[in-house]
Amino acid sequence: MEATKTDSHHHGTDDHAHHHDPGFWKTYIFSTDHKVIGIQYGITSLLFMLVGFFLIACMRWQIAYPGQAIPVVGKILEAVLGSEVAPGGIMSSELYNSFGAMHGTIMVFLAVLPLAFAAFGIYVVPLQIGAPDMCFPRINMASYQCFLAGGIVMFVSFFIPGGAAQAGWTSYSPLATVIPTDGQTYWLIGMVLLITSSLLGSVNFIATIIQLRAPGMTWMRMPFFVWAQFVTAFLLLLAFPPLEAAGILQLMDRVFHTSFFLPSGLMVAGQPMAVSGGGSPLLWQHLFWFLGHPEVYVLILPAIGIVCEIIANNTRKPVFGYKTLVYAALVLGFLSFIVWAHHMYLTGMGTKISAFFQTTTMIISIPSVIILTCLFISLWGGSIRFNTPMLFALAFLPMFGLGGLTGLPLGFSFSDIHLHDTYYVIGHFHYVVAPGTIFGLIAGIYYWYPKMTGRVMSEFWGKVHFWSSFIFINMVFQPMFAQGMAGMHRRMYDGGATYAGVADPLTGEVVGIPQKFIEMNSFISIAAWMLALSQLPFIINFFYSITHGKKVESDNPWQATTLEWQTPTPPPHGNFDKPIEVFRGPYEYSVPGHDADYLPQNEKLEGEPKTEDAPDAQPAPAQ
């Protein structure tokens, strides 16, 4: 901290004035404090997650009971969106399409990504590396504001004439270009804002981790969560710009009538489209999936990081293979850039290219399995504390495993031909993202809540939340594998009813989707609504505990080793009240010969190197 302090004295004088009592707006709305921005991100993204869940809950009604008016909500939809869109509370196909497209968009770009990367990352990473804030606090604030603007643009698009984007979250051209709603233009502008936000965020993250690590916090002493965020930030930094390019090109197609993604001879509604043509629909898919696949790891890596922290803390022993985890995450990040076209086996891009992407896809499962195996072995021989965060973290492991393993048949082009675009795919990636990532994130909320608020969320309601969520989420996604293997297409407006029981005109034999798979629709839908209900204990617990939760008795209620627990609770502006120096790795639990079963990273032991500048010997810096 020596160099740091001389710096601060050098420039400190003119900046000191605005520290004192900045007022409500500067403290909560236009704050540059990473903790406030992290919480802003967290609350906004949780709200968007609720919106995304609401959309799918409506769609599940239409899938289970096609053509029937949605109870209660249907009336509201009709009143708000108009009677052409939801006549008598019945979901029109346009509305179904736009809800489907926006469910994906909101969940990926406005809920899980900002919660996993931004909210937890911005709040926790600077604390875990012993930094007073992020490298560029004002860019941090701008990042949130861009995100919010993008979210508002997306949300507003529901209410414009024609409704929100309808071409799926992947927005494949030419469909996305020719669809007659401005919602797609809103979607593109929203995406450009979100990409800007993530660009600002990822630059800030990487710079912070490189530059602001506390003295002694070497690379291999960083908690695994920081490593996960570091790799994630690189993925965002390098994978998002191609989508921005694609967005710009599609915006040109829509606004300036260019033909980047419109091939020659394109017919729309029986008429040749009046454009110059010569474009390539495949180009959009390449650009989209160049982001789209790294995006998957952007969603999963922070969750793995959180789970790793919680498992180490609650098994009271070091994680197994810390260095292996780090290298696996780095390899995973690198490989995720060269697997994107496994989403495109059916585009006719050719068997040679398919073979290449099949190979890389199989290779990328190796680091994923290494990470999961390390986390499983970490449980071995631990005296596990089964508190709420730990339950969610433990559930993450098999759920993510299931999601990963069901991905293998999709990674091979021959089996993907059968499974492509079916409910099997939906089941697969939701196992990765919903009971996988989201469970990891909820674990993180329970785990860091005491640090953020100074109070603990109710254990009892936490366990109710966990068990009900765990049961219902499996009831939602497990039957989808069966439906998908039976051939149910993922974008069917009526849940496949039209195609059920279709008879072969020659033999009279039923060749459509067998009725029993159609009947699963209502089972899944009911489970999904029950899953929604099981979030109520969480929502109430979350808000109730802010004011009424049990107060924490120490700054380190979980008896953890990492630096975020060595701050006052909640951490003040500038985070640490004494200079931080790090002496050891992140997971020194149950160290032999030590009294407590945990040894914080900044606790100096007798005979530790670097004794001459012991933190306790120095006066606290003026904050």
Binding site: A3, T4, D7, S8, H10, H11, G12, D14, D15, H19, A131, P132, D133, C135, F136, P137, I139, L199, S202, V203, N204, I206, A207, I210, Q211, L212, L237, L238, A239, F240, P241, P242, E244, A245, A246, I248, L249, M252, F256, H257, T258, S259, F260, S264, V275, S276, G277, G278, G279, S280, L282, L283, H286, L287, F290, H573, G574, Q623
Partner: protein, 296 residues
């Protein structure tokens, strides 16, 4: 609270924060333009036969080459400006960075001229059987049956439009030369440029007035006209936004933000350096844009 290493380099990385930040930002910019360059390749390789214009046929090489020189010059002055500050010579910095800003302005003026030239450049597709105008040319490939009048807008009224047409000038060669007449000329072959198609003599421009009732379709050479122009306008447009943004930041530091030279000179020099790094990227992108859009 003060962020460490805001202007002093961190000993183990040797970098101050903003320098790490700008390099990361530049990496992301490389991916953005990289994606667009890849799109250019994919679109060009997949373009239907005869639709990609011959090099230099739609854009004059001269202004593009001039702009390339201007940007390279500005890249030199931006370094000299930073170096002057390192030698504590503020006056010289002001002079060099002033040249940088002027270069940016010149670049944008030339760009605006080029854009204006394309937006006033019209291609008129005449109705079937209409052949009585001077300076009619023909489309290529699948469009070879079309009678076109191709030229710059002079005047437009409710029922007439007047264009300046260069009947044999190679300005519009890529589109105008008949596919049947010079099939070898389609991709990058300069040899056939000055061949005449029609009997009209000389290279003089003529003014052609077309009645609107004879027009099947009229379009300026904007981004909607062809894939080549679409990628040209998109990439140069995005690049122009970067030029404007970069020039604005450099101007702010040069003018209104120069107070910092007195209060915090170290940080001021860092700002100049970081904005200069961005300026180099803007220059570098143009160095790739110029050949692929004007020369190849």
């Amino acid at each position: 609270m003060e962020i460490p290493y805001n202007s002093k380099p961190r000993p183990d990385t040797g970098l101050y924060n903003a320098k790490v930040g700008i390099w990361l930002f530049l990496a992301s910019e490389v991916m953005l333009f990289g994606a667009l360059f890849s799109s250019y390749i994919m679109l060009r390789v997949g373009a239907p036969e005869g639709t990609w214009p011959a090099p230099g046929s739609l854009l004059k090489v001269g202004p593009g080459a001039f702009n390339t020189v201007v940007l390279i010059l500005s890249s030199v002055t931006v370094v000299l400006a930073w170096a002057s500050l390192k030698f504590n010579n503020f006056k010289q910095y002001r002079m060099f960075q002033g040249i940088t800003i002027v270069c940016a302005l010149i670049f944008m003026c030339v760009k605006a001229y080029e854009y204006h030239d394309k937006f006033t450049h019209y291609e008129i597709v005449l109705k079937e059987g209409v052949t009585h105008y001077e300076g009619i040319s023909h489309g290529t490939g699948v469009r070879s049956h079309l009678n076109l009048v191709d030229g710059h807008l002079v005047n437009q009224t409710e029922d007439e439009i007047t264009l300046t047409v260069h009947p044999h000038h190679d300005d519009h060669a890529g589109h105008d030369h008949g596919a049947e007449a010079h099939p070898e000329e389609h991709d990058g072959d300069h040899s056939g440029h000055d061949h005449a198609e029609h009997a009209h003599g000389g290279h003089d421009a003529i003014q052609v007035t077309v009645r609107k009732s004879d027009i099947a379709k009229m379009e300026s050479y904007g981004p909607w006209h062809s894939t080549y122009l679409a990628i040209y306008f998109t990439m140069t447009g995005l690049h122009a936004i970067h030029v404007i943004g970069g020039a604005f930041v450099i101007f702010y530091i040069w003018g209104p933000g120069a107070k910092m030279w007195k209060t915090d000179p170290e940080r001021y020099v860092n700002r100049v350096e970081v904005s200069g790094l961005f300026w180099h990227l803007v220059d570098l992108v143009w160095i790739f844009l110029f050949p692929i859009l004007y020369l190849l």
